[in-house]
């Protein structure tokens, strides 16, 4: 901040996100933050502490646990919720499978990524949440480039990208019928580099997975995957120890690591600034087809 009343771009993005979060608290009866344990939802949670300080965040953290999460993610999630004094609600994909609501995928490309949508929508319905705040960003993927800040979902939780409400100025229309809900994306205008610069500036704590560490991995179709009991081996695959870190945190079975020595926030930020591959470039779930994100989002995915 300077004498000429100018904000740098991180301050301006922060101000916008805080405005969006407060608008959620003001317009909705039962809002929640969808917390994945990834850096983006950690930044959303950090912004929420700023938006409502000195009060506690007036909405619970909702986590959809696929059962295939990294243990580090779960540990971090529990610690954060306790430190902030926020309620933590966990929706379990395993429970959805056990209840026969969805069937586990089989085959070599099997993952629980798509199954999460059913658990998510069930959790939203059980909690009667009318607004779910997520950490998605428009720069992540082409279908997300058209997201609103307040994104309407019908009573089946579906997104209709061709009939979105126009969103003008900072006037967010969260009006809805009973049973419908909104997805809200305070980080819409942030890029991956903005996120890392902000995490570094604010010294925000992250799960250890983001930092370079030694881990047993297998390389499959050019993607480095963490060795674990949830990842069935294919013929000829032998896990070997590599120095890696993760750029995004999804399920163990689909989240690619990158070979890296970046073990501090400063080194990671420098690495992100120099990289030539998008962060979702390592996500097997996005590679299924050219519009796989759009298709999943229409069904109600994050």
């Amino acid at each position: 901040m300077t004498q000429d009343y100018q904000l740098d771009h991180l301050d301006e993005l922060e101000a916008e996100s805080i405005f969006v979060l407060r608008e959620v608290a003001a317009q909705f009866e039962r809002p929640a933050i969808l917390f994945s344990g990834g850096k983006d939802s950690i930044v959303v949670t950090h912004l929420a502490t700023k938006a409502f300080a000195p009060a506690r965040i007036p909405m619970p953290l909702v986590h959809i646990d696929t059962g295939h999460n990294f243990p580090e993610t779960i540990e971090f999630r529990d610690g954060l919720a306790e430190r902030l004094g926020v309620q933590l609600v966990v929706g379990s994909v395993q429970a959805t499978i056990d209840a026969g609501r969805v069937r586990e995928e089989t085959g070599a490309q099997a993952s629980r990524n798509r199954l999460q949508t059913t658990t998510l929508l069930d959790t939203v319905e059980d909690g009667k949440y009318d607004a779910c705040v997520g950490g998605a960003r428009r720069d992540e993927e082409k279908a997300r480039a058209k997201e609103r800040f307040f994104s309407h979902r019908d009573d089946f939780g579906q997104w209709d990208p061709k009939h979105q409400r126009p969103e003008l100025w900072n006037l967010f229309n969260g009006n809805h019928m009973p049973g419908e809900h909104f997805r809200v994306f305070p980080l819409n205008n942030w890029t991956e580099l903005d996120i890392w610069n902000y995490i570094t500036r604010e010294q925000i704590a992250l799960p250890s997975l983001y930092f370079a560490h030694d881990r047993k991995c297998v390389v499959r179709d050019g993607v480095i995957l963490a060795h674990s009991e949830h990842l069935p081996h294919r013929e000829g695959e032998t896990p070997e120890t590599m120095r890696v870190r993760f750029r995004t945190l999804g399920d163990l079975t689909i989240t690619g690591a990158i070979a890296s020595d970046a073990d501090t926030l400063e080194k990671i930020t420098a690495e992100v600034a120099a990289t030539r591959i998008t962060e979702r470039g390592g996500r097997v779930d996005d590679k299924r087809s050219e519009t796989s994100m759009e298709d999943r989002k229409k069904e109600g995915y994050f």
Partner: protein, 419 residues
Amino acid sequence: MSTTNQNSLLRFTTAGSVDDGKSTLIGRLLYDSRSIFQDQLEAVENSSRKKGLENADLSLLTDGLRAEREQGITIDVAYRYFATPRRKFIIADTPGHLQYTRNMVTGASTADLAIILIDARHGLVEQTHRHSFIASLLGIKHLVVCVNKMDLVDFNEDQYQTITSAFRNFSSRLDIPDIKFIPISALFGDNVVEASANMPWYEGGTLLSHLEEVHVGSDRNLQDCRFPIQYVIRPQTDEARDFRGYAGRIASGVFKVGDEMVALPSGMQSRVKEIFVGADAVECAFPPQSVTITMENDIDLSRGDMLVRENNQPRSLQEIDAQLCWMGDERLNLGVRYVVRHGTTEVKSMIREVLYKVDINTLHRNEDDKQIGMNDIARVRLRTASPLLADDYRRNRTTGSFILIDPGTNLTVAAGFIS
């Protein structure tokens, strides 16, 4: 890309007709500023090959939805991001299609600058008038007119001059203080990021250098103090039992600790005790900061109220004259009690009268046809159930704008500009 974060943000919007090469221009900006990642480029190259194209079709970078890829048109506002060492940019890429004009209004509503694309072969067309008028209506102060496809007119200077003088002639009727012209070829990159070797007669800078340099800071209103209360923070914890903070975003003006303020609509007065950004106390606050303000005295303030200065107050309006840009599928219906969302208030309203419809190609006022449908711009008089604390849109984009919501469908059906 640079790791520096000591740079400012420029939000701009792009508009053009269907084939003006808008998506190609954005693709070019992203590509030449090295903001495209390898896997994105590979995906585009693959798709281009499948379509039988020789070179990578850069427009595929921005046309994201399945329907758009199939039809080769852009149907919704898409936001794009890139950064240079000097600035971070947010592009609202809006469709040029007639039926999607509402999206240009949407994209332009948060923009500091608009780029208008004109095909050098065709010159000014209906859409040029429409988009320029919308930019003016939205209060955009900086316009860049890119005369594109110069390669298809042999980089001819006369053709360029003819178009720019026609545009100057037309734009004298608009209210846009800063208009800049640049001859480009988005397809080949001339004057987009790199200066063109094909147009030595052009002595101005490239599009990117203009975007990096254009000064938008003085566009903000730092005179009129307006702080619409968004949310009241009352922790009711042991540490902060008596804390009562007013959370909101500064719409305009500079607020300082110790300033004497008036709360509207109550009219009660008090001084600013503290200002917080997050948990950090600061001495002053200015737009577009989100802050929490505490006052010396207990005064009655809740969402929808406003803190202002006694000698500089907004108008309190219940009869409102405004321009509307209609966005609903259903036509304006004088019998419907539309909900007005203005700042942080929501109030029922009645549209009493349609005064005239604007032909946005000729700017002619039509007082005979008062049927208002999708993409129409009209001047109306409306009455709200309780007064709005409002300013002229030209003076204040936040307190001068509103949207109309259909109470039956909850859809946003119009954008409104108070004047």
